[in-house]
Amino acid sequence: MSDVRTTPTSDRGFFDEGQYPGIFAWLLSTDHKRIGLLYFWCIIAFFCVGATLGLLLRLELFAPGETIMSAQTYNATFTLHGVIMIFLFIIPGIPAAFGNLIMPIQIGARDVAFPKLNLFSWYLYITGAILAVTSLFTGGGPPDTGWTFYVPFSAQTSTNVSLAAVAVFILGFSSILTGLNFVTTIHRLRTEGMTWMRIPLFTWSLYATAWIQILATPVIGITVALLFAERVIGTGLFDPAQGGDPIMFQHLFWIYSHPAVYIMILPGMGVVSDIIPVFSRKPCFGYKAIVVSSLAIAFAGSLVWAHHMYTSGMSDMAVLVFSFLTFIVAIPSAIKVFNWLATLYEGSILLDPPLLYALSFILLFTIGGLTGLVLGAAAADVHVHDTYFVVGHFHFVMFGGTGMAFFAAMHYWLPKIYGRMYDKTIATVAWAIMVIGFLILYISMKIVGMQGMPRRYYDYVPEFTSLNQLATVGSWILAVGLVLMFANIFRGIFKGDPVGDNPWGGASLEWQIPSPPPMENFGEEDPVVTHGPYDFTKAGIL
């Protein structure tokens, strides 16, 4: 790449260049990095709340019968755990936080296409989050429907589902606007020389994700709007007594929520695709295959929603079609895993924390993906559907996949954003503890699910006790790892040693500018890109 270095006006980069004083430098900023950090910190905060709720759930399940909370509280808690983790952590997690922080820099842009809209998205996110929290304390009390809001229960319960539905609608709107912004940015604001085949894979994954956000999210909007209408004005479109069909709610819900799974996982795959080459000092193997598979996942992911509904009472023909399509989607994911492994081959591998987290992504995601095949196969799904096997499966994919990728991104890019390095040894120890706790926790869940324990059970029959206890113990180990990791990251941000511009030896654009980046990322002249994102030879790393 051409020399895009400028003399920074300050060694704290954009942190010193707020347009407004004090807190308004953040709340009114349209700078993509500041907005990215706003998202980042909110997302971390909600993750901690969600994780705490998860720990409480595990504690309740430590023994059969009432342990620490009543059944109603338990139901509200798992609903809240799901809503927070999905709508406030995983979906916005990587795209809104790291997408905002890094994507414009990666394509050589000074900001996203619509900076004000970007800030507006964040405000929508916060509004949605506040409404979701408000629903706990108003109306009929915290929603107790599970994050899936299935009718007719959700239409009948006296708890505050209506407000939660409004919150989901607004959060969906925020997600749409971010997606729209990113698609436009990637189409319109690539700098000179940044051809489509030179876009870093992280940005590619965000591009694919953004299209899903745009095309699938409105469907959840109308779904929760209809739920709201059903509760408030009694339009019984899903009410059998009024000729409605409760199964149609599930169709509409999953038309969004299955693609949403790919909104959650694709950016994680992008992070891993960016990290592995840097720590192997080799170009990402099969760049084009990974790009195509991202787009294929985005498209094919929109065709498979009803595999959540094999037992719902829908037609057997639908089971046949959706089961078939589901297995098709498995292929692009497998292609990515093989390409990542091939990238390691003949490389020069440095096991720094970002790579460790990325590798654990591959392992845990593979386990999650393979158990996903069990759920895709019609007969096997019938047995494990709505059991702890499913709970274990999606935690492997969502937490082991997206969560680990989020942590990988944190260890990879935060030093760039804050210009300081965390303690790598502690990061490695925390990683090891987390992976061990994770495996104990979620493998126990899968086994107990195979034995037949249904999910969303406040209480269980005695034969499930020992595995539940094992899972709870695993959750404690996992929690220790999480606390250690976050503590280390925070210490690193504020007190770590300064890092140079390119601590890992990356070849993409974000490593060519100062750490922290200056206000508009690049100096007077826009960068001109002359080689691919993983061309370490031309970038002068090798």
Partner: protein, 439 residues
């Protein structure tokens, strides 16, 4: 019976499991080993500079696209094949109607016999036709690998065959509200001859009568063994002397067929001394033939009622009873050994369980809905069909307000309350007893 070898649901599903787990296990092992090996082999300490900058290989890409494609198609096929076995009901399957409701199961057999456990003969397929009375539930028997949602307004089915006698867990697998985890019963697989006997027990007046009492919810308030519940026990009710209060005057009479019929259809007229006027009128609610059956049975309960011949045959149901009560009324009650809670206490627990207190205060303050303080017997101005009417909060009003709250909406309040069709009559009586205490 067995014209061809029957593939059980367990066998059909497990085949898919073995194949998918087999392929997946190999894949996982391969990927993990490859990853660890590569990280170890090409460590930077060993190779400070990468050996190559290879970044693509078309043949490799094709290989690892095609092979997984074939493998997943294999998995798809076995999954689908197993699923078809689950959907093809064997010709000789016994039909059973399975009804799910918040939060219990009711199984009805061809001859009209009902049970809250699913009794099946060993070795013979059973087809359970499922429906739901309220929200989604799911019929799940892990041992037989079958699961099917119960959808209101729609019939679904699941068939299975129990190869071995035994008691198998039957769960509700679709989240259905606060007592979802308590919606558990069992499949009782018994030898075919025993099953036939059990099924044929219908002629036995006791079992039939008891079944009717169960069906209409009588046993929620009246015991058969003499223990006091909300209402008087049925033990010895046939021909027993009872003291009743009518219009403030008490008198003693003999509990005969006429009295019992009156007491069921219009219980408010004469109240048994020492018991609350809690029983709802059943006029028009019990079909003629059921009424005859109930009366026949009740009249037959004479003497100390150490209950004739039914002791053995009803063991299973007796054993199940405390559990069912726990389900319906006190999911959080610590133990069934304790004294039964008073109706008012149960009512309070019910109100908490159903989330009533989210909208209704008990201290007179206004929330989404009206306060419950001083509710009982108060005058209410309600809007019915757009017209204002004044009425008194009594049994009829309470039942309507709970089952169909939108029909009569209290002046000054939004029509926000959802209907609670899941509340049984006994539960409503408990609520009523509790409401009476809120002066």
């Amino acid at each position: 019976m067995n014209t061809q070898p029957l593939i059980t649901t367990t066998e059909a599903v497990d085949k898919a499991f073995y194949i998918i787990f087999g392929i997946s296990g190999v894949a996982l092992l391969g990927i993990t080993v490859a990853m660890v090996y590569l990280v170890w082999r090409y460590n930077r300490k060993r190779y400070p500079v990468p050996l190559s900058q290879k970044d693509h290989n078309v043949w490799l890409e094709i290989t690892w696209t095609v092979i997984p494609s074939i493998l997943v198609m294999v998995m798809f096929w076995y999954g689908w094949e197993g699923y078809l076995s689950l959907r093809r009901i064997p010709d000789n399957a016994i039909p059973v109607q399975g009804t799910a409701r918040m939060w219990s199961w009711l199984f009805t057999y061809e001859n009209g016999k009902t049970s809250d456990k699913l009794y099946v003969p060993v070795g013979q397929p059973v087809n359970v036709r499922l429906n739901s009375e309220d929200v989604l539930h799911s019929f799940y028997v892990p041992a037989f690998r079958v699961k099917r949602d119960c959808v209101p307004g729609m019939e679904t089915y699941a068939w299975f065959v129990a190869e071995e006698p035994g008691s198998y867990d039957l769960f509700c697998a679709e989240y259905c509200g606060v007592a979802h985890a308590d919606m558990i019963t069992t499949v009782e697989a018994i030898p075919a001859a025993e099953f036939a006997g059990w099924l044929a027990e219908k002629p036995s007046a006791t079992a039939a009568g008891k079944g009717l009492l169960q069906k209409h919810g009588c046993l929620g308030c009246h015991s058969l063994d003499g223990s006091p519940m909300v209402g008087p026990s049925f033990q010895g009710i046939g021909g027993r002397q009872v003291t009743v209060v009518a219009n403030g005057e008490s008198r003693t009479l003999v509990s005969d067929r006429d009295y019992l019929e009156k007491a069921i259809l219009d219980p408010g007229v004469e109240i048994v001394e020492g018991f609350p006027a809690a029983m709802p009128p059943y006029a028009g609610k019990i079909p003629e033939e059921d009424m005859t059956g109930i009366l026949d049975y009740l009249v037959s309960l004479t003497g100390d009622g150490s209950s004739v011949e039914e002791a053995t045959e009803d063991e299973a149901e007796e054993a199940n009873k405390p559990e069912e009560e726990g389900l319906a009324e006190e999911p959080t009650a610590p133990a069934d050994a304790e004294e039964p809670a008073s109706p008012a206490e149960r009512g309070e627990a019910l109100a908490a369980k159903n989330g009533c207190l989210g909208c209704h205060s008990v201290d007179g303050s206004k929330r989404v809905g009206p306060t419950l303080k001083g509710f009982w017997g108060s005058e209410r101005i309600v809007t019915r069909d757009g017209q204002e009417t004044t009425l008194v909060a009594d049994d009829g009003y309470l039942i309507k307000a709970l089952r169909e709250p939108s029909a009569e909406v209290l002046q000054g309040y939004p029509p926000a309350m959802p209907p609670y069709p899941g509340l049984s009559d006994e539960e409503i009586q408990d609520l009523r007893s509790w409401l009476e205490t809120l002066k």
